[in-house]
C-alpha cells in the first residue's frame, strides 16, 4: 500500500494503511467486547492436562474454517472462487467414515490412515476437476465450481446412503477432537498447513506466480508463466485443504453427515478471505489476513454466545458485520464518508477496472 499522495507521512497513517490493520482491529474489538460480559475471557485454565479457555476454543472450533479459508485465499488470488469446498468437506468425511465403519477393527492405525488417504484423494480429484474446468475449459470459476457444489452433496449422500454414519475409532478421533501437548491436536494441523502454505508462497516464487496469474493471466502466460498449471494446482490445493477440514469435522463428531457437514462453509471461508483484505478480483493475497479473518468469524460466533445475544440473531449480526467490513474496505465508501481527498485516490483506479478485466479473464487459457 504505497501512497504517493501522502504529504505528511505519520506513523499512525502508516499503521492504518497496513493491509492487516482493519482485520486485526476488528478482531481485537470483538475480543474486547467480551471482557465486560465474561471478565475471565482471556484466562486459560489447565484441567486434566488440557488447556481450556475461550481463546483455545475459538481456535479449536475455527480450525476447519481457517483451513478452508487458506485454500480459498490462493484460489481467490488467481482471480477465481471455489464454491465447492462445502461439498468436498462432506464427500471427504463421508468416504473416510464409511471406509472406517466397514473395518473389523476401527482402531487399527493402518485402516484409519488408508481411509484418510482415500478421502483426501477424492478431495484432490474434485479439485483437479474444478481446475480442469476453470483453467483448461476457460469456464467462469463461480460456475465451474457450482457443479460440484450442487452434485457433490448428492454424491456424499449417495456414499453414506442418506444415513449419518457414526464410527468409534480412537485414532481418528484425535484429528478433530483429540489433544496433544495440552493443546487441541487440530491446532497443530492448522499451524502446519498454514506454515507450509506461507513457506511455499512467500519463500519460493510460487506466491508471486499466483499473484501474477490473478493480476493478468494472459500477460503472465505471455511472460512464460504456465498460468493453466498454476490455476489447476491452486484448485487442487484448495480442495486438499477442504478435505483436511472434512476429516476434522467428521472426526470431531465421529460421524459423517452428507447433508450438513460443511454446510455454508464456503460462504464463511470467502467471507474470511474478504475480511482478511484479499481482493476478490485477484492478484494479491494475504494468508495472515485470512487466518485473522477466519478467527474474526469464529470470535463473532463465540461472542454472540457469551454476551447473551439470542442465538437466533446470530445470522443478522453476521450480516451486519459483513456489510460493515465490506463498506470499510470499499475505497469508494471511504472516500465518500471520510472525505474524498488523498486517501481514496490510490485505490480508486482499481475499481473501474472491475468490468474491464472480467472480459479478458474469460478468454485466457484457451
Amino acid at each position: 500500500m504505497s501512497t504517493p499522495s501522502v504529504t505528511t507521512p505519520s506513523r499512525w497513517r502508516a499503521l492504518t494503511h497496513h493491509h492487516l490493520f482493519w482485520p486485526v482491529a476488528v478482531l481485537v474489538a470483538l475480543l474486547l467486547v467480551n471482557v465486560p460480559f465474561t471478565p475471565d475471557f482471556f484466562s486459560i485454565k489447565m484441567t486434566d492436562g488440557h488447556l481450556y479457555g475461550s481463546l483455545v476454543s475459538i481456535v479449536l472450533f475455527g480450525s476447519p474454517l481457517i483451513l478452508v479459508a487458506v485454500g480459498m485465499t490462493l484460489v481467490i488470488a488467481t482471480g477465481g472462487i471455489d464454491l465447492s469446498v462445502g461439498a468436498v468437506v462432506a464427500i471427504t468425511g463421508a468416504l473416510t467414515c464409511s471406509y472406517i465403519s466397514d473395518q473389523a477393527d476401527q482402531n487399527a492405525l493402518s485402516g484409519v490412515f488408508l481411509a484418510m488417504g482415500i478421502g483426501l484423494v477424492a478431495a484432490v480429484v474434485c479439485g483437479l476437476w474444478n481446475g480442469f474446468l476453470v483453467a483448461r475449459m476457460g469456464i467462469q470459476p463461480i460456475i465451474a465450481t457450482l457443479i460440484i457444489m450442487v452434485a457433490g452433496r448428492g454424491v456424499a449422500q449417495l456414499i453414506t446412503d442418506g444415513q449419518i454414519i457414526t464410527i468409534n475409532s480412537e485414532p481418528y478421533k484425535l484429528i478433530g477432537g483429540g489433544y496433544w501437548l495440552t493443546l487441541p491436536f487440530s491446532i497443530f494441523v492448522v499451524a502446519a498447513v498454514v506454515a507450509v502454505t506461507v513457506a511455499l508462497t512467500r519463500r519460493t516464487a510460487l506466491g508471486l506466480l499466483v499473484e501474477s496469474v490473478g493480476g493478468n493471466a494472459e500477460a503472465s502466460r505471455l511472460v512464460g508463466i504456465r498460468s493453466m498449471r498454476i490455476k489447476i494446482m491452486v484448485y487442487m490445493f484448495c480442495a486438499l485443504c477442504a478435505g483436511i477440514a472434512g476429516l476434522m469435522i467428521s472426526s470431531n463428531t465421529s460421524a459423517a453427515d452428507g447433508n450438513n457437514a460443511g454446510l455454508w462453509i464456503e460462504l464463511d471461508a470467502i467471507l474470511a478471505v474478504v475480511i482478511g483484505g484479499t481482493s476478490l478480483l485477484g492478484g494479491r493475497f494475504s494468508i495472515g489476513g485470512t487466518v485473522i479473518g477466519a478467527l474474526v468469524i469464529q470470535t463473532l460466533t463465540t461472542t454472540i454466545y457469551t454476551i447473551g445475544v439470542p442465538t437466533q440473531t446470530n445470522l443478522v449480526f453476521k450480516a451486519v458485520v459483513v456489510i460493515v467490513v465490506c463498506l470499510l474496505q470499499s475505497p469508494k465508501f471511504r472516500a465518500k464518508v471520510f472525505g474524498a481527498k488523498g486517501r481514496g485516490k490510490t485505490a480508486a483506479p482499481a475499481a473501474p477496472a472491475t468490468p474491464a478485466d472480467a472480459a479478458p479473464k474469460m478468454e485466457v487459457s484457451r
Partner: protein, 343 residues
C-alpha cells in the same frame, strides 16, 4: 459435442454466410434454449414410454410441473434479470424463506388480513433487493459479497421472527391454495397461473422495453453501456429490486404451496434458481439469454424430480447429482459457443 468443438479449421468466419453450418449453429444465440427444449421433450417422451402404465400419460402430470415448480419459476425469472445484467443474487432462497415466515407471522400471530400482508411482503422483498443494488452500485462492492450478506440477513430475520415453524390455518390462505383453474385437460393452481403471468411480463419487459435493452447492454459490456450514456446505476439497482420482488413473490407462492412459514424453508433455493437459469441457456457473464429458456430450465429440473418419483426406487439425492451433471453439460455447451464467437 465432441465433434463440434473440434472444428477450428473454419478460417476466421468473418460473416455468418461463410462459416460452416456447425459454426453457424454454434454461433446462434438461441441454441442453448433449443437444446434445453429438446432435452425436455426427450425426457418427457422417455417418461411417457417408461411409465405409461403408471399414469404418466395424464396431461395433469405435465400441468403438475407448473404447480409444483411455480415458485421456482418466479425466483428463476428474477435471477434471470440479475444474471443477464452480469451480476448474481445469492439471497433468493433466504428472501423466499423470510417471506413465508413474515406472511405466516403477520397472518397467524398478528391477525392481519392477507390482503394487507401480501403487498407488505412484496414491498419488503423489493426493498431488500433495492438496498443490495444500491450498495453494489454506489460502493462498488462485488454483488457476490453483498447478496451473501443479504442471504445471512434475511435468514437471520426469519429466526428473529420465530425459531419454530408457523403453520397457516387462515381460511383465505387455504381457499386460495386450493383454488383450481380448470383447463379441460386438467387444472392449474393459483401459484402456477401467477408464475406464468410473471413469465409473460418478464418476457415483455426484457424483449420489448427500454429497461430490458439496458439490462442486456449492461450485461454485454458494462464499459460500453456506460460510454453509450445508459443510466447504469438506475438499471443495476432496478435489476436487484426486480430480483428481490420476484423472490418475495416466489416466497408467497411457496407459502401457498406449503401453507406454513418455517425459518428453514427454501434453504439453497438460489442454487436451483441459478441452475435453472444456466440450464435455460443464459450466459453467466451476462448479456445473452432468453427468459423462455429459464422456463425450460425450470421444467427440466421439475421433470427430473417427477421422473425420480415415478421411478420409485431412486433416492432424492439423485436429483442433486442429475442437476449437477446437467449444469456441467450446459456450461460446456455455452463454452463451446463463446469460444466460437471469440475466434
Amino acid at each position: 459435442m465432441s465433434a463440434t468443438t473440434k472444428t477450428p479449421t473454419v478460417p476466421e468466419g468473418r460473416t455468418a454466410s461463410q462459416a460452416s453450418p456447425v459454426a453457424r449453429l454454434l454461433g446462434d444465440r438461441r441454441l442453448p434454449v433449443l437444446v434445453t427444449a429438446a432435452l425436455f421433450l426427450a425426457m418427457y417422451i422417455t417418461g411417457l414410454g417408461r411409465y405409461q402404465n403408471y399414469g404418466f400419460t395424464e396431461p395433469q402430470v405435465f400441468l403438475n410441473l407448473f404447480i409444483d415448480n411455480g415458485y421456482l419459476l418466479v425466483a428463476a425469472v428474477g435471477a434471470t434479470f440479475v444474471i443477464m445484467s452480469g451480476g448474481i443474487d445469492l439471497s433468493v432462497g433466504s428472501v423466499i424463506g423470510f417471506t413465508t415466515m413474515f406472511t405466516a407471522w403477520m397472518v397467524e400471530r398478528q391477525g392481519l388480513p392477507l390482503l394487507l400482508v401480501v403487498p407488505l411482503a412484496l414491498g419488503v422483498g423489493a426493498f431488500g433487493g433495492f438496498l443490495m443494488g444500491y450498495v453494489i452500485h454506489n460502493f462498488e462492492i462485488q454483488p457476490f459479497i453483498v447478496t451473501l450478506a443479504g442471504l445471512f440477513l434475511f435468514r437471520g430475520l426469519c429466526l428473529v421472527i420465530s425459531k419454530e415453524s408457523i403453520s397457516i390455518s387462515d381460511s383465505s390462505v387455504s381457499s386460495l391454495a386450493q383454488a383450481q383453474a380448470q383447463l379441460g385437460i386438467g387444472f392449474l393452481s393459483i401459484g402456477a397461473i401467477v408464475a406464468l403471468v410473471v413469465l409473460a411480463v418478464a418476457f415483455y419487459v426484457l424483449h420489448y422495453t427500454r429497461f430490458g435493452r439496458r439490462v442486456y447492454a449492461i450485461g454485454g459490456n458494462e464499459q460500453s453501456a456506460l460510454l453509450m450514456g445508459l443510466p447504469m446505476g438506475g438499471t443495476k439497482i432496478a435489476v436487484y429490486t426486480v430480483s428481490g420482488f420476484c423472490s418475495a413473490l416466489a416466497g408467497l407462492l411457496f407459502m401457498l404451496y406449503i401453507q406454513s412459514g418455517d425459518p428453514l424453508h427454501a434453504v439453497g433455493m438460489e442454487l436451483d434458481a441459478i441452475a435453472a437459469v444456466v440450464i435455460g441457456g443464459t450466459l453467466l457473464t451476462g448479456g445473452s439469454g432468453y427468459v423462455l429458456g429459464t422456463l425450460f430450465g425450470v421444467l427440466v429440473l421439475g421433470l427430473i424430480k417427477s421422473l425420480i418419483q415415478f421411478e420409485g426406487t431412486l433416492s432424492s439425492w439423485w436429483t442433486k447429482i442429475a442437476t449437477g451433471v446437467l449444469l456441467c453439460a450446459f456450461i460446456l455447451i455455452q463454452r463451446a459457443m463463446t469460444a466460437r464467437k471469440q475466434t
